[in-house]
């Protein structure tokens, strides 16, 4: 329902194309801006309907993305309004393309779960474009290059690790750690895209990435990655502690030099990728405490186990693209293993949640409250294991999107307070209050 509202809000913008028809200048760079604007609109709509094809973030962060898109649209609006009258030929073209846009947007708004094939090429997609970098496009390009939404998820898992650490909350340390982790994540994602250009072009999910579309040169992409990665790791090492910096650097190396090439060589890549996902909360923990405790490993373990139902369910629907693109994924080569592993790790989540109070990280309310959530995802994991079809894989994937933030949230509310650590026989209400005290600095 939330998606539907965004689509409706966006249709308010559709009045603008009529104005565009009149305000269209022949100059090349304006043409690009106009095309980019239309493309943004289209991307926005297709994104609403192609949730499955993204490694999308959980609900709590989905609010961020439409605003980001709307902001860009606003910027584009301002640029376009400055341009001068149109020539009739272009008028015709922009009319037909905007009509296509409107039709697409209408149909998208009406059918919530319809799948608009991303393969439908709108007119501007078939144009030849000048390979010149425009400064107004740069923020959007860099955002997509660094997979900003995935980065936001990584930052949030690192913050969860920080918040769960049994030490008094230090705001500066928290901000430095989050920002450093974010920069490291941007760098890693950019290098990943740099390595995968021809493969990304051949897969539906990824064929609109900036390097694939030639919106930025590989050299600039690498420079951007370096300018994010080096300060990010330096910030973590000097501003937080060397252990966190080392973990950050290790994670970047693991992701770019192990996971990315391994994707095309062996199914082991999924396990490596799960480790990559597990390290940010560990980094958050070490940022707060400065040491690798059992708690860090538990949080890492939860993220590690979560990756499997999440990714295996996602990859189930992408088997054709993976097969053609030459990616070695369990869902293609060992489908039985794929489903078994997903189920196994759903159950492991229950186990890990039970271990949390044993390690003094949370009270015993945590495994109790989280049990229904974990049982539900395990149930969906079991359905996926048994049915092995598209609908069960989708259900599992979407569940994983809200399961993780909810689990982390519950974990945080059940966090064992720092002050009453000695008292193991805490009343749930009591620890709740003191936990509240700590949260408000």
């Amino acid at each position: 329902a939330g998606l539907f509202v965004w689509c409706l809000r966006n249709t308010g913008v559709r009045q603008l194309p009529c104005q565009f028809v009149h305000l269209y200048h022949v100059a090349n760079d304006k043409l690009i801006t106009f095309q980019y604007f239309n493309f943004l609109k289209r991307m926005y709509v297709t994104r609403c309907n192609k949730d499955l094809s993204q490694r999308a973030k959980p609900k709590s962060h989905s609010i961020v993305s439409p605003f980001h898109e709307l902001q860009q649209l606003d910027q584009e609006k301002k640029v376009v309004n400055k341009i001068s009258p149109v020539s009739p030929v272009h008028q015709l073209w922009s009319e037909t393309s905007s009509r296509n846009e409107l039709r697409e947007m209408k149909s998208a708004a009406e059918t919530e779960d319809s799948v608009i094939p991303v393969g439908t090429q709108s007119k501007e997609d078939r144009q030849w474009k000048e390979m010149k970098l425009r400064l107004d496009d740069l923020p959007g390009i860099l955002a997509r290059l660094s997979k900003i939404k995935l980065t936001a998820l990584v930052i949030s898992t690192a913050s969860a690790g920080f918040a769960m650490a049994p030490v008094p909350f230090d705001l500066t340390c928290f901000l430095l750690a989050s920002f450093g982790t974010g920069l490291a994540s941007c760098a890693a994602n950019t290098i990943n895209q740099f390595f995968e250009v021809p493969f990304d072009s051949n897969m539906n999910r990824t064929k609109n990435r900036p390097l694939v579309r030639g919106q930025i040169s590989p050299l600039l992409a690498v420079c951007f990655a370096a300018s994010c990665g080096v300060p990010g790791i330096a910030l973590l090492t000097l501003g937080v502690n060397p252990l966190t910096g080392a973990l950050g650097a290790f994670n970047i190396a693991l992701y770019t030099c192990c996971y990315t090439p391994l994707k095309r060589m062996s199914i082991v890549n999924t396990w490596v990728g799960a480790v990559v996902g597990a390290i940010p909360p560990i980094m958050g923990w070490t940022a707060a405490t400065g040491s690798l405790d059992a708690g860090a490993f538990l949080l890492g373990g939860i993220l590690y186990s979560w990756q499997f139902p999440h990714f295996n369910a996602l990859s189930w629907g992408l088997r054709e693209d993976y097969s053609r693109g030459g990616y070695c994924m369990m869902s293609v080569t060992h489908p039985g293993l794929c489903r078994r592993v997903a189920l196994r790790h759903c159950l492991a989540l229950i186990g890990l949640s039970t271990v949390a109070p044993v390690l003094d990280i949370t009270t015993w309310t945590f495994p109790i409250i989280s049990l229904p959530i974990n049982l539900y995802i395990s149930y969906l994991g079991f359905r996926f294991y048994r049915d092995a079809d598209r609908s069960s894989s989708r259900k599992l994937f979407f569940c994983s999107l809200w399961h993780l933030p909810l689990l982390l949230l519950v974990m945080f509310t059940c966090k064992k307070s720092v002050l009453k650590k000695e008292d193991k026989g805490d009343l749930p209400g009591g620890s709740h209050e003191t936990a509240m005290e700590i949260r408000l600095p």
């Binding site: 144009q127 072009s201 030639g214 040169s217 690498v222 053609r324 293609v332």
Partner: protein
């Protein structure tokens, strides 16, 4: 792309290879280094185009053959009564995907090695060209300031 343009132009994805072709701009005063870069990029583009066009064509063809043989085994025709093309569901296609991937595994390994080497070389050349250009620009500015 227009004749007066001084930059490269990138086009829509090729229908066979899904790669976007680039038309490279050849500046009149192109240095040897810049020529090496351009040629490396052109060569990489051609090689990628060849690989993926052939690979995708093979995929489509083998997929058709697979569907045909499976349908025949089930006793069905390629097109049913309404004239729609008959397809197999995802589970039946899974065997084909697995097979195709393993058949092309070695080919992909070779291509990966090739692509990584080319990518690094091109990016390194780009870096060199950018550095030379930057130095040239600085030298020109210094000369202007001195004058």
């Amino acid at each position: 792309p227009p004749a007066h343009s001084r930059s490269d132009w990138i086009g829509p994805p090729d229908q066979h290879s899904n790669l976007r072709p680039i038309i490279f701009y050849v500046p009149p005063e192109e240095s040897a280094l810049e020529r090496r870069l351009r040629e490396a990029r052109q060569e990489a583009q051609a090689s990628n185009q060849r690989f993926w066009a052939r690979h995708n064509r093979a995929f489509r063809q083998e997929k058709e053959e697979f569907i045909y043989s499976r349908l025949k085994a089930k006793g069905l025709e390629m097109r049913d009564e309404s004239g729609q093309k008959a397809t197999l569901n995802a589970e039946e296609m899974a065997d084909f995907y697995k097979d195709f991937l393993s058949k092309n595994f070695k080919k992909h390994l070779q291509y990966n090695r090739d692509w990584y080497k080319r990518n690094f070389r091109i990016t390194f050349l780009m870096g060199q060209v950018a550095l030379v250009r930057a130095l040239r620009w600085l030298r020109r500015r210094k000369k202007n300031v001195e004058q």
